[in-house]
Symmetry: C2
Subunit: 259 residues, 2 copies
């Protein structure tokens, strides 16, 4: 392309998250950047959208020379508003979401606001990448992974995304020089074993707080969890079709069942 690529950036940790800042620093070297991100942390928002409330969009000055908006809604709202209201008729060449503070590998793609935002852009036909670093901390060190993020974005801007509009990218939180490269993977069939912390508030009412342990029983060598264990960056080409095709025939008897 002759013009500079237009890159839409969003996340779920909120517009002030260091992970978003890291992504902006990379993206601005590759194209024109527009930011549409939540005005507050939205982790675990999944593919939630705001239907019953009005949404607000506020132009903010965060980075020199970059158009940035904070949005009152969910990460998916940010992408919808970003495309419809902020960008309008211009073509978005790439949407990048993150860099998330914490893992979004395996089934976490379902709960993740970061990944749902990227997926929403992919549903609009935009090539999209969600980036996550396996470090929940606000002080996470994004420096070691930044060259890889840049390389992947360059690759996608140059080569497009064959047969796919969405990549789920997770990166090990290791020091400089320890990341071994990219692995193309499938989503591990892992699960959460949940527990609730039960407590009583000062007014004597019980409450519950979600906690849990990530358990991976999937021993496949080709999973994102395995790649990350071996200090690779996992890339899972992802879609939005949840049909379980191998289960269709098993339910056919229902088509001929009487009442």
């Amino acid at each position: 392309m002759n013009r500079r690529p237009l890159i839409l950036i969003t996340n779920d940790d909120g517009i002030n998250a260091p992970g978003l800042r890291a992504l902006v620093e990379i993206a601005r070297e590759l194209g024109e950047v527009i930011i549409s991100a939540p005005d507050s942390p939205q982790s675990g928002q999944g593919h939630a959208i705001t239907l019953t409330d009005p949404l607000r969009l506020k132009k903010v000055k965060l980075f020199e020379g970059i158009e940035a908006y904070e949005c009152s809604g969910t990460p998916v709202d940010c992408v919808k508003l970003g495309k419809q209201i902020i960008v309008g008729d211009r073509q978005i060449d790439l949407c990048v979401s993150g860099i998330n503070h914490g893992s979004n590998c395996s089934l976490n793609i379902l709960y993740s606001g970061t990944m749902s935002a990227a997926m929403e852009a992919s549903l609009e036909g935009i090539n999209s990448i969600g980036f996550s670093l396996l470090d929940l901390s606000w002080k996470a060190d994004f420096e070691p992974c930044k060259p890889f993020v840049k390389r992947l974005m360059e690759y996608v801007l140059k080569n497009g995304m064959p047969n796919c509009k969405l990549l789920n990218v997770n990166m090990p939180a290791v020091p400089h020089g320890h990341i071994k490269g990219f692995k193309i993977c499938r989503q591990a069939d892992a699960r959460w074993v949940e527990e609730y912390v039960e407590a009583t508030d000062p007014r004597g009412q019980k409450y519950y707080w979600l906690t849990g342990k990530f358990v991976n029983d999937d021993k496949g060598e080709d999973t994102d969890v395995k790649a990350l264990e071996n200090n690779y960056i996992s890339i899972v080409p992802s879609g939005h079709d949840l049909t379980k095709y191998d289960a269709i025939e098993g339910f056919r008897p229902l088509e001929t069942i009487g009442l």
Copy 2:
């Protein structure tokens, strides 16, 4: 099984929704029912979970002889709390979510709290069905579809769910006698064309309100949208693996790329 099956019921329209009442009336004929549903409408919540706030659970008397709890969280929270706190060590034989007021066919599975609740149960290894009627109204008539809902629940309780833990069931809103039966389908590759209504609040601040049009360009004969157009109930066996397997090889060059 010798004991009566244990059926967990949830939804996203809130515990007082007529659609949930319809589902309870059916399920109580088939087994022991426990309800864990949101204390307020949660449409469009997708797979959102509550991470940064405590959750409340309140036992309510809604149906004679049925244990019912309203939960302060999202539909997915309701299922997690239902399983962990309310049901505990007992085995849940079936989770049913709905009956949703409005369609959850095609890509709406991603945005739907109803379907995300059912999916959450499926992730816990529980056979789950999300039911939706194609009528958004609070006064929707669930009577014509009730015999089909009952028949499907009976079928699954008797035969299990081969190779699958989750069904996305959508039902046409037509009068008695017009529903033609069940069709096993794939998720149509449809999309939303969105617009925002832009307005100004009494304090002079702009706001945006999401609206949109569902557009189906997928002309396949085997889709849920097509089945519904022909007055069939669509059943899409669904999973949680979003990997786009046919895109994996196309990204392999990244594995050998240098920085």
